[in-house]
Amino acid sequence: MLQGKSRWKTVAVGAAVAVVAVLGWLVYRHGRDAAMLRLAPDSLPENASLYAFAVSGGKGVFARNCAGCHGADMKGDRKTGVPDLTDVDWQFGEGRVAEIEQIALYGIRAADHRTKNQADMPAFGREQPYARYSIPTLTPQEMDDIATYIGVTQGREAEPEALKRGIALFDTKGQCFDCHGNDMGGDTFIGAPNLADKVWVNGDGSKKAIIDIIAQGRVGVSPMFKNTLSPAQIRAVAAYIHSKAIPPPPAA
């Protein structure tokens, strides 16, 4: 009888201690979350301990919500047009925590007025290439010529006449320059990738792959998480991605 009671005592005290510990931990977490959230997002990496706290919290958030598309290794998938998040090459912005956080919150081409949704890659082989405004269709020969021009940046030989036509089309009828820039350097505000480097979001940079993109267009979507993740989870996952990416070279 007495033995039963003393066991009961141990259980009661143990439970009370556990509850207090959990509560304490929650309060502590909440305090850290709050401290992490109060910072302007780009100030987070400057605060080593809060940054480490955020990064460790972000790992699981990424695994549960982002890895399905971006891959557990964050390397993306060129077959489905998911960009590598670990390289220096950003389609949108330059990889600051503030920028990643906005994408985590509102996505890319998702249903929110703050989503990234300024432009798409038109489908030049379709009757109406672009939903946003009128752009002329390109003939197969024209697409081939433009792909020849882009191929030069990939180290491929080009027949001079085709190259000349390709350059002209890039700068005029195709309106490629308008989004990708005259130098093919891309536009990180609208998410138009650099076409002159060897980093490809979609396909492998072969001529065939490039023609396919020009003909079929491309409208990549990253979902919004504002309604499904807490502000702290969003901040944490942004910090986690930031921590995995190669930092940009210091401005010259």
């Binding site: 007495l2 009671k5 003393s6 009961w8 005592k9 009661a12 009370a16 509850v19 207090v20 509560l23 929650l26 309060v27 909440h30 979350d33 709050a34 401290a35 959230l37 109060r38 302007a40 997002p41 780009d42 100030s43 399905g68 598309c69 077959k79 489905t80 047009g81 503030a98 956080e101 906005q102 919150l105 996505g107 081409r109 998702a110 249903a111 703050r114 082989g125 009757e127 269709t137 003939t139 197969p140 020969q141 979609n202 396919d212 993109i213 003909a215 079929q216 267009g217 491309r218 409208v219 979507v221 990253s222 979902p223 919004m224 502000p231 702290a232 969003i234 901040r235």
Partner: protein, 317 residues
């Protein structure tokens, strides 16, 4: 908690007084066991309730949550959005924006929130056609978001591809020369010329020579190699229907159109070829999502109707 006997009230007779801390924890015998456990329970409960109260969404009344710069009638303006807005409007990094710039943007964001809230208050959506259509498309997009963001598996895509195989073919291409009698030519003469031209072309004579000899000129409708759909638009349905049937080198019979008789010579004609799954992957993915999206919108409409109370007057049923 009571640590010495003096601070505990009188005990019922027969209970030995607790003398030491150890005695106090002779739990089963402790006279205030119920009270103490009750107190612990109450404190823990209050703690949990308090924690819940101060951390739950939507319960903050008079304080600004850590993720917000401001709260407007209970709606937070997120720091993240504020920073993004400052950068977008001022064209500088947030850390480089000065206090006046930040203040200005914050005031603007508060104003916008107020106007949006006011708009809902005066039921703007039921008044303004732009707001109405924006709302409709917003709901449609919202419904479709699951479809857009779903990453279909390879199997799903393959099944979709198999079901719609016919639409995954390479692009049909043609190069065609289209000769027409000049405007104003007497219709009978024109038709005779066209027949003679067709015969000469079939006999292998050059297009330019035949055109000159039988007074027919290039219609200028098509230029070089074109995708089928482009050629169809340029030629018109009737001429395209003839052209698409011709093999390279073949010549059509004269086709009478409003602008006179046409003769078509097909130079190249690449009919669409079925594409393999791997080859058509991007297109399959796009179409798969589009189909799913349409389906979800239809389902949403059904769901709303089931839920709704709709009465239609007899005369209009």
């Amino acid at each position: 908690m009571a640590k010495s006997p003096s601070s505990t009230p009188a005990k019922p007779a027969g209970t030995p007084p607790a003398k030491t801390v150890k005695d106090l924890f002779a739990w089963s015998e402790h006279p205030h066991r119920t009270l103490i456990i009750g107190a612990i329970g109450a404190i823990v409960g209050l703690g949990m309730a308090g924690f819940g109260l101060f951390t739950a969404e939507g319960t903050r009344v008079r304080s600004v949550p850590p993720e917000a710069v401001a709260v407007v009638n209970g709606r937070p303006v997120l720091i993240s959005d504020f920073v993004a807005q400052v950068e977008a409007e001022m064209g500088v990094k947030y850390s480089e924006a000065n206090a006046a710039q930040r203040k200005m943007v914050l005031e603007e964001m508060i104003s916008e929130e107020l106007f949006v809230q006011r708009g809902l208050e005066i039921d703007e959506p039921s008044v303004d056609p732009d707001v109405r259509s924006a709302l409709v498309s917003a709901v449609q997009t919202q419904v479709a978001v699951d479809a857009i963001t779903k990453s279909p598996t390879d199997d799903e895509l393959r099944t979709f591809y198999e079901a719609h195989k016919a639409s995954y073919s390479s692009m049909g291409l043609m190069t065609v020369k289209d000769l027409v009698a000049p405007r104003g030519t007497d219709p009978t003469t024109a038709m005779n010329n066209a027949r003679a031209a067709a015969a000469a072309l079939r006999a292998g004579q050059a297009v330019e020579a035949v055109g000159a000899r039988y007074n027919m000129k290039d219609s200028g409708k098509v230029m070089g190699e074109e995708l089928y759909f482009a050629a169809q638009i340029h030629l018109g349905d009737a001429l395209f229907a003839q052209a698409v049937k011709l093999k390279p080198g073949e010549v059509s019979d004269p086709v009478l159109q409003a602008d006179g008789p046409h003769v078509l010579v097909t130079v190249t004609n690449t009919t669409p070829q079925a594409r393999t799954f791997e080859d058509a992957r991007i297109a399959v993915m796009t179409d798969f999502k589009q189909a799913l999206q349409n389906q979800m919108q239809v389902n949403e409409d059904k769901f709303l109707r089931v839920r709704a109370d709709i009465l239609i007057a007899k005369a209009f049923q």
